[in-house]
Symmetry: C2
Subunit: 417 residues, 2 copies
């Protein structure tokens, strides 16, 4: 790998450096790290502040326009609506694409529970769009080792959950010829280059640094302390010699929720010292819990979200009962004062899942004016979610163990050099 | 694995616990950890004190007799002469052997330089005797990852040195049907069970603990902090499913120099919590540097030891020039006052390498009385070392890359169930 290439990625290193020391929030600030998302404000996390603190860049209208221009396709609604709101070096990836040079996508999932919820689907829905639009290969990391280390799970159970969750990911429709899904616990024992890269990263990061970035303490187990390089390593194409024909210099684009950024700030910090390219990123906001935007959803609280295993009836009940409403307390009040879309969870969910822009805008206007009642807004959402979950369930039911095995076998992926 | 088996290994857990907090020496005590051996005394490390501090047990005459009785063979001179001087749970291993139950040997080497020296050979000479005497399989860990993390080496260079050093180990004559040599950097990517065990160990050890045991600090890289479980994992037979036919409950005996004990105190601490057997150990004293017993030899100082690549002439020169003498300053003084075998490095080396007990005892007597001159003592040693190194070099020259590959391929080893 040439240094020229490394230098081609423009980065405000100092800012990044500072930001990594600031991840663990103080009383005033939102806390956003891979294990905690807590906001001081009832409106939820202040994403503009987060961009400043993390040292990333906003995805603005100009950038969305450039994506459309470069790909010749309309931008995904998750992009247009500011749900993927922040990035690092996305311009570099677009430059690559314009020059017909290849890159790859990397995203992941921590398999801590059998049933995934709607929020878990967001990065995969967007990643599928990226794969289709840019025609690039994708690696999906199942961090079963992480879940073993952080949760009260056995190694076998964590690995089993990785396979179960892989079925949901496959059901999102990723191209089998361009997609590798891998479990850390398995892949580590299949491809020596993965551990090699982990060693190289681990040599360049001190305990002091992971303390600052992730908030680890002296009484944390050393497994946790050793984990960040495991999530960092797939950012380097050399971790996938079978997949990328031993190419070590393929640029990487990582779509993920913003809480995963600390891992990749660390990765970007060590990359040049390893002679590697810094991965580029696109960050999403958090999918709100049914109870409101203050926190991420919890897979362990069944009333906090809609699960991909919920029945039509369960979906209807959950939305009607638990989805926090920004509407008036009474029909009269609603009609006179109107509803508040900013805090209305059902409306928020529509921004994630309704692809019809015009209809969404009409709903926003009508609800804000009080012309659309909360019940009707919820009805609209219930129908969309029921359809989405039903279709997902159908697709997932067709994913056999054999197919999972195929997706999870390290092999050369088809892509244009 | 049943708890009964775990409980069968009698251990003073509290003592171990205490000892692990005491590894990092204070001003008064010898410092003995995997990276530092420094003695406060000119006589070198006080091994009796070390046994107390580490909480291990002395190998006394009674135990040596038991080994001879159980195996029906004379004890190796490294055992008879107190060079392997300390143990943990060796009685349990002898019980196993008496009951015709299998166990395996585990030892290792940190490949930091091309040329190994005499001191590096000691554990392998003894391990070969153990393998032959007990007819048991052996796994040899080449910690190329450790050397990459601690030294100014690339991953490739560390891995290359692992292969070079493997040739020296093979030249010691280990039975290919009963011996696996493995490089961490390679084996990690071959056998998922290795990483699984590493994860399990890593979950049970805190940063505070490795700080106490190994003296790590906040500015150490997380690679170092993550390493101890890598050296611990081969203590569990489940790390070698191919080798041991997926048997998870094979007891392990580790021959090593006492400075490696901190790794295995940690291992023994976590073993019961993993439902695994604690590994048993036999510890050796340090092979003295030519300049004297105060410290271990350094592979980076060519005058500190005899290397396995030294010529006859180099060996002769090194012993004559650098081997610290316990003899008189002049011939007259030597003849009148006699020599001091306790501090005479050439005599010490003879205890390691001369197998004839009677002749050694005669030399000791004659030298102590001043009847044997230093020059003659050294001549005796030079001849033995020249023969040993010459024979080693011949055997090593016959070790092909293909043979190394065979030894380093995970495969079923022959042993009696």
């Amino acid at each position: 790998m040439s240094n020229t290439k490394t230098e081609r990625m423009p980065v405000a290193d100092e800012l990044e450096q500072k930001a990594s020391e600031m991840t663990v929030g103080n009383g005033e600030e939102d806390i956003v790290d891979p294990w905690n998302v807590t906001s001081a404000s009832a409106k939820g996390v202040d994403y503009d502040k987060l961009i400043k603190r993390f040292g990333s860049s906003k995805i603005d209208d100009k950038l969305v326009e450039r994506i459309e221009r470069v790909t010749g396709k309309p931008a995904h609604h998750l992009l247009r609506r500011g749900i993927f709101f922040s990035h690092r070096d996305l311009h570099f990836i677009l430059d690559q694409y314009e020059q017909k040079k290849p890159f790859y996508l990397y995203t992941g999932r921590g398999p801590s529970s059998e049933a995934m919820h709607l929020g878990h689907l967001i990065p995969f829905i967007f990643t599928k769009w990226l794969q289709d639009t840019f025609d690039v290969p994708l690696v999906v990391q199942m961090t079963d080792d992480e879940k073993f280390l952080w949760k009260d799970l056995t190694v076998d159970e964590a690995n089993r959950l990785a396979h179960e969750n892989a079925k949901d990911i496959i059901a999102c429709g990723f191209d089998i010829n361009k997609t590798l899904i891998f479990s850390d616990l398995e892949y580590m024992g299949q491809v020596p280059e993965f551990y090699r890269n982990i060693c190289q990263i681990s040599k360049l990061v001190t305990f002091n640094q992971v303390k600052g970035i992730f908030g680890f303490g002296d009484s944390d187990c050393i497994g946790k302390i050793a984990f960040p390089p495991v999530q960092a390593a797939p950012s380097f194409s050399s971790s996938f010699p079978h997949i990328f024909n031993s190419r070590k210099d393929l640029p990487c684009l990582i779509p993920c929720a913003i809480d995963q950024d600390p891992y990749f700030r660390m990765t970007r910090d060590v990359a040049p010292r390893m002679g590697c390219l810094k991965p580029a990123l696109v960050h999403s906001t958090f999918f709100p819990a049914l109870q409101g935007a203050q926190s991420k959803m919890s897979a362990s609280d069944p009333t906090s979200s809609v699960f991909l295993t919920d029945t039509d009836k369960q979906i209807k009940n959950k939305i009607n009962r638990y989805a926090f409403s920004g509407g008036g307390a009474t029909i009269e009040e609603h009609k006179s004062k109107g509803g508040n879309c900013e805090i209305d969870v059902s409306y928020q969910y529509l921004t994630f899942f309704m692809d019809d822009d015009e209809k969404l805008e009409q709903i926003r206007k009508d609800y804000t004016k009080g012309e659309l009642l909360t019940g009707n807004l919820k009805k609209e959402l219930v129908a969309i979610l029921q359809k989405l979950v039903r279709e997902h369930r159908e697709k997932r039911s067709k994913v056999t163990d054999e197919l999972v095995k195929q997706y999870m076998t390290p092999r050369k992926l088809a892509f244009h050099y």
